[in-house]
Amino acid sequence: MIVGILEWVGSTKWSVMLLESYYAWPLLESTHVVTLAFFVGTALMMDLRLVGIAFPGVPVTAFTGRLLPWTRFAFALMVTTGLLLFYSSPLRYYNNIFFRLKIVLLMAAGLNIWLFHSRIHLKVAEWENDLRPPRAARIAGLLSIIIWTSVVFSGRFVAYNWFECDIQPQPGWVNFLAGCELVGEEAMTGP
């Protein structure tokens, strides 16, 4: 069902035009990359402050108050360009194991952000000037650094998918995780 919908989306006029365009696609992707530096860059600066290894003397609220709107704005651009790139070739990304990993990591990042803002940040007034924020805040900052770094890695590897469904045989778990539907001979000769 999902495959059918994505197949249809990928066959629409605009999707094909985008995929085959000479400038639009590279422009979209380079915007995605430049915005990445903006988004992950500002997020990392805040994470480093939360971990307690950068910006001593700058209150945490300078980041969560003044800088965060810009980080969010960059994230909105990130999602927009990302969705358009997905739209250009939906089925290919859907069956890309690194794309799937990236989506899972994005959900983990979202969960970490939600936990931070719904719990740890509520009492920020008590510790915003601490050089070394409370343990929970330091963990949230460290997790954020690890998750976003992994998102960047998996995002870059989407373009180098070594586990393309067309490349068979692959280990069973790879085909399972990538959602590859094997047909005929491939299905028989899988390892």
Binding site: A37, T42, L48, G57, V58
Partner: protein
């Protein structure tokens, strides 16, 4: 570009490191990803200060104070960026020779570096938000965006 430089690019590609990067199917993508992480660190360090110079973002801190805080991350990020960048270049030096985006990047990168450290870096003391800071901040943003975009564009040809 001067044809006379071509042998140098060929030599680069033939170096031990160049061959090593080319021969592994994982080396190039992994180095690229590290290059991207360093891009984020540099991006963050530069944008925090440039936004502030434009009068946005962390307005309760002085421009010079923020610049002081980001310096180690900027320098560290640049070190990783340059070393991974050289490795990527060695892996495909001949392709780079014929690549316009590569030359755009090689011309704008030194300008951006000199601007950041020799121009912007020296004018920060006591700098308040104003026309001067706004000009410096926008010039810095434009320069680095061109460097980053040209870098990404090397891969499209």
């Amino acid at each position: 570009m001067p044809e006379a430089w071509y042998p140098f690019f060929e030599w680069c590609e033939g170096t031990f490191l160049g061959s090593a990067v080319r021969e592994s199917i994982y080396a190039f993508p992994v180095i690229e990803a590290v290059h991207l992480i360093a891009l984020c660190v540099i991006g963050g360090a530069i944008i925090v200060v440039d936004l502030r110079m434009l009068g946005f973002g962390m307005k309760d801190q002085r421009i010079s104070e923020l610049a002081e805080h980001v310096r180690p991350w900027l320098v560290g990020g640049l070190a990783v960026m340059l070393s991974t960048g050289v490795l990527l270049f060695l892996g495909e030096a001949v392709k780079c020779f014929y690549n316009n985006a590569f030359w755009v990047k090689m011309l704008t990168l030194p300008v951006a570096l000199v601007f950041t450290f020799a121009v912007k870096g020296r004018l920060l003391d006591g700098l308040e938000t104003g026309t001067r800071s706004r000009l410096l901040g926008s010039a810095s943003l434009v320069l680095w965006v061109v460097v980053a975009a040209a870098g990404r564009w090397i891969g499209y040809s």
